[in-house]
Symmetry: C2
């Protein structure tokens, strides 16, 4: 049996997954952050990405539901709290709906998830199922795309402010807040994976889990682009560019 890589080499292997295939490299993000998206394309992104946001607390609840260690549950639970927030004030999901309003969408329409592309649903549900079914180590490893998120959020905030009139503080609150929340989650998740992947086989499985998660993110932008950018073929049931638009 081959030996496990040491902690630093294994961490570098995980980071290399992001360098090779994190969705900051997808053409849609370059368009979005460079100001080349029409408002309809921005709206389509907000509608579809909401589906991902809406499933994150369900994904984390699936994780908690399988987690026998109360200390791990305590540490993980804040992810649900960050996204759902309190009954009165809400959290990340409600901040995403502020972005929806800012780009001229009815937040109730967005929250209904009607018009979300089937391909978006399939990719996001694959993530929920993965966390529900795979070994805990792989479930944690799949969350590590957050290692690469602060850079894309910082780029996004700067790009949206530069190029789009809607990009005020309320619209961008989701991303700014994630810049505060993500580093703590990343540190915890990364340490967990570095500690628990104590064989090469587990390291390989962790890398595969993180790769899977980059596919989940990339695939969402592929189906979005196919429907609303090029060739612009909206599949049956997909948002038509008009429903839920209020301004």
């Amino acid at each position: 049996m081959q030996q496990a890589a040491n902690r630093e080499a294994f961490a570098a292997r995980l980071r290399a997954v992001g360098e090779a295939r994190y969705h900051d490299k997808h053409p849609f993000h370059r368009q979005l952050h460079g100001g080349q998206c029409s408002m309809t394309q921005v709206q389509a992104w907000v509608i579809n990405r909401y589906y991902y946001q809406s499933r994150i607390p369900m994904k984390d609840a699936a994780f908690l539901s399988r987690c026998e260690d109360p200390q791990l549950r305590r540490a993980w639970r804040n992810r649900i709290e960050d996204h759902d927030g309190g009954v009165d004030d809400g959290g990340g999901i409600r901040r995403w709906l502020k972005l929806a309003e800012a780009v001229g969408l009815d937040p109730d329409y967005v929250a209904s998830t009607r018009g979300v592309l089937a391909g978006t649903r399939f990719a996001v549900e694959a993530y929920v199922h993965f966390v529900r079914e795979k070994p805990m180590l792989e479930a944690v490893a799949s969350s590590l795309t957050e290692m690469f998120a602060p850079a894309i959020h910082a780029n996004r905030i700067a790009g949206l402010i530069e190029h789009y009139a809607f990009a005020n503080d309320s619209a961008l609150a989701y991303f700014r807040q994630r810049l505060n929340e993500a580093p703590k989650e990343v540190a915890f998740g990364l340490n967990y994976v570095l500690d628990h992947a104590d064989t090469l086989e587990k390291q390989d499985a962790s890398v595969a889990a993180l790769t899977f998660k980059t596919d989940v993110l990339w695939s969402q932008l592929d189906v979005l682009s196919h429907a609303y950018v090029s060739p612009g073929l909206i599949p049956p049931g997909g948002w038509d560019g008009r429903e839920g638009v209020i301004s």
Copy 2:
């Protein structure tokens, strides 16, 4: 509570789902059957569609695993038998690999499912999960896209023979055999759904299940087209147009 539609009206509602959104209407199929696909595009289709074929017996096993009625299990089991066949002779899956060979692909490469697009996996796995998790009526209803399959298979056989040199009897055996198998499965599945959807709510759920399944099929062609037709952006991990090509 609104009353259930009668048998004929409900059957017409199910058929209307196919008329509106079965994947025979997808531009990729028009290209494929009209001879406008390059061999690389045909190969990409064969590689990705294999993933769907490979999961059908697992989907049907998930169905059997939840089915308490031995008579229903007996009637349903032939679907696994048709696709997997015997240890020596094989079935639909092995016939699909004959098609792979005919279009110049190494069948072992295709069977490995390396290079299958992430979006293909997500759509197909969504189907397997659906059948594993939903009420039995909806699981059966989701199979009813087979009502619309004979027409597309007949078109495909004619179109491939007319336009592509590879289209001999061995290459097309999968489709010809499905023309024999599908009508029996359709008759059974349709009768089951017509018999068991005895409230409007169950009829609505059956229509939604069939709609979901059309999304599973349509989405596969969307991700295939995005990667290999227009804009031709192959996602990370997707088949590169070369691996597994033997002629």
